[in-house]
Amino acid sequence: MSPRDPFENAETVLEVENLVKHFPITQGIVFQRQIGAVKAVDDVSFQLRRGETLGIVGESGCGKSTLAKLLMRLEQPDAGSIFFRGEDFLAVRGEQLRRLRRKIQIIFQDPYTSLNPRMSVGDIIAEPFKVHPEAKPAQGIRNRVKELLEVVGLNPDHINRYPHQFSGGQRQRIGIARGLALNPDVIILDEPVSALDVSVQAQVMNLLDDLQKEFGLSYIFIAHDLSVVRHISDRVGVMYLGRLAELGLDEEIYSGPAHPYTQALLSAVPVPDPTLRGQREQIVLKGDPPNPADPPSGCRFRTRCWKATELCEAEEPELTFHPGIGQLAACHYADTNEDVVAS
């Protein structure tokens, strides 16, 4: 009864293997010595296929934004590999790197700080062409910018306006237009709708959906809102303290979460339907996520987990398949639980 994967035969665009990024914690002013490391991303692997949306969910501090930066090569990973269409993205330099960079674009969370307030909208969207002159559109930059504005649902006549003249949702559209300018294959969306009101959020999500279909884009959609991620994603990865706790098709994860953390996360999401009050099993986790600089031994979730045993303390579980479960889960006692999900 396992659901079918619609992208089973699609081309793999991005392949991430055992990616690691640790940020050193240093002490001392003149003689700095390392006293530890924040394990922001620790051994993360996944594939992204053409036309697919991979959702990454997790709470603050779980490393999801660091993952986005690594995929953009804004941060250099400590270990692991990123392959973009078979090319080693971490090894390329110079001209080749510039060429690959065009293909992976990012859209940020805060549409208020990610647009330069002193640049007109036309200049903001045309800036990618300045950085990549070889990608200059044949019809002329200004015409292309107008076209992009139209694609994202803004009035092309507003090309000379400045960011402050637009609302939050419109600004996010400007960010999307800038991301689209170089015809990328992959767009990384780091909390793209978190700062928007519900009614505007729906507009932007619909736009992202349309653009994906029109241009065959692959998305990595990073968010903390599980409902939003379910809506837009084909597959979902759940992150906890720098590691993937669970990875699989959205239907598998949302209707039968196998990792205790995913179960707790799903049960904590309020469902906008008062008749479901008391109908769902609510797992209220104790405590806060532990300090990522000093994660617990063995399984990172064990300090908050109700299933934890000595095995969890001694041995870190691998992200693998378990019998009878369609998705990958990193838990010694992975077992699907349907009661946390309202249906």
Binding site: E59, V198, Q203, N206, S227, Y254, P270, P272, P274
Partner: protein
């Protein structure tokens, strides 16, 4: 004509009654009408959710009730706020200050910027007892530790001297709650209390608030934009848009049989965790500027049901079923539509 939300939950006299409240901000760009004729009542033990998007006037409502609105530029243009029958707006400042904290208390969204960063949290909680009840330092601190234990802060005795930055977001919000309920207020206003928190922590904080409310039977005004949280905890809901209540009813009625196109639009536009994603029905356009509200219904420019009448005449909030009020000329039509959708087999 004042219309308030009739109350089906508790039958005693209302704790708090807001009547025809009007608040404006006088700015250089013109007068922004933040609240235009707001009405609601709150009874003890009841949770009223004020639901709205940014700019709908929900936080201004909270600040006006608390008496912490910046004036100027804020200006209360009319109406009354009755607490146990007495109008807060007519009260001398001295008397209001006594009520604040003792009878009406508030929790803010951002605990980090609401707590004083240079004072230990225990000192800040103890301040409530020292200032309002005249406790000496020692007794006040003992009570502060007690309050911290009550809101579930582990090792409270040790942490009473810690500073706000040494706590996590969820713990800081618990400290805010401890301060707010320390003097056992009758009304607690929570302005987006969980918006800045992660889902698992949000669940902890909301269940703490519910427990505390159950225990002390205080009236809770929950101000939020999150339709999910509201569905879980509220008894009744007032949906705000452009500074007025668009619809009000008990929570079950709002979600199942809405009679306002704005509420319907909001409910249609949220992605559901328990349902596979189809295309979302977004509400087109943007909320109107508060300095230039349209003459008719403020929602009419974005409303798919809007007619000539809506653009010309502002609809009053009127009762369309017992306990269910809607400010829409076509309320009956929308109501019938949602009624029909309910009866349809899923």
């Amino acid at each position: 004509m004042t219309a308030d939300i009739p109350n089906d939950v508790v039958d005693d006299a209302p704790l708090l009654e807001v009547r025809d409240l009007q608040v404006e901000f006088r700015t250089k760009a013109g007068v922004a009408q933040a609240i235009n004729g707001l009405n609601f009542t709150l009874h003890s033990g009841e949770t009223l959710a004020i639901l709205g998007e940014s700019g709908s006037g929900k936080s201004v409502t909270a600040q006006t009730i608390m008496g912490i609105l910046d004036m100027p530029p804020g200006h209360i243009a009319g109406g009354e706020i009755r607490y146990r029958g007495e109008d807060l707006l007519q009260m001398p400042e001295e008397q209001r200050r006594k009520l604040r904290g003792m009878d009406i208390s508030m929790i803010f969204q951002d605990a980090l910027s609401s707590l004083n960063p240079v004072l230990p949290v225990g000192w800040q909680i103890a301040e409530m007892f020292r200032v309002h009840l005249g406790f000496n330092r020692k007794d006040a601190r003992a009570r502060a530790v007690e309050m911290m234990q009550k809101v579930g802060i582990p090792a409270a005795e040790k942490r009473v001297w810690d500073f706000p930055h040494q706590f996590s977001g969820g713990m800081r919000q618990r400290i805010m709650i401890a301060m707010a309920i320390s003097l056992d207020p009758d009304v607690l206003i929570a302005d987006e209390p969980t918006t800045a928190l992660d889902v698992t922590v949000q669940a902890q904080v909301m269940s703490l608030l519910q427990e505390l409310q159950m225990e002390s039977r205080m009236g809770l005004i929950l101000i939020t934009h999150d339709l999910g949280v509201v569905a879980d905890v509220a008894d009744k809901i007032a949906v705000m848009y452009s500074g007025r209540v668009m619809e009000s009813a008990d929570v079950y009625t709002i979600y199942a049989r809405t009679a306002h196109p704005y509420t319907k639009g909001l409910l249609d536009s949220i992605p559901r965790i328990d349902a596979e994603g189809e295309k979302l029905k977004a509400i087109p356009g943007l909320p109107p500027s508060l300095t230039a509200l349209p003459p008719g219904c403020p929602f009419s420019p974005r409303c798919e049901f809007a007619t000539e009448l809506c653009r010309e005449e502002r609809p009053e909030l009127r009762e369309i079923a017992p306990g269910h009020r809607s400010a829409c000329h076509h309320a009956e039509k929308i109501h019938a539509m949602s009624e029909e959708a309910q009866n349809e087999p899923a």
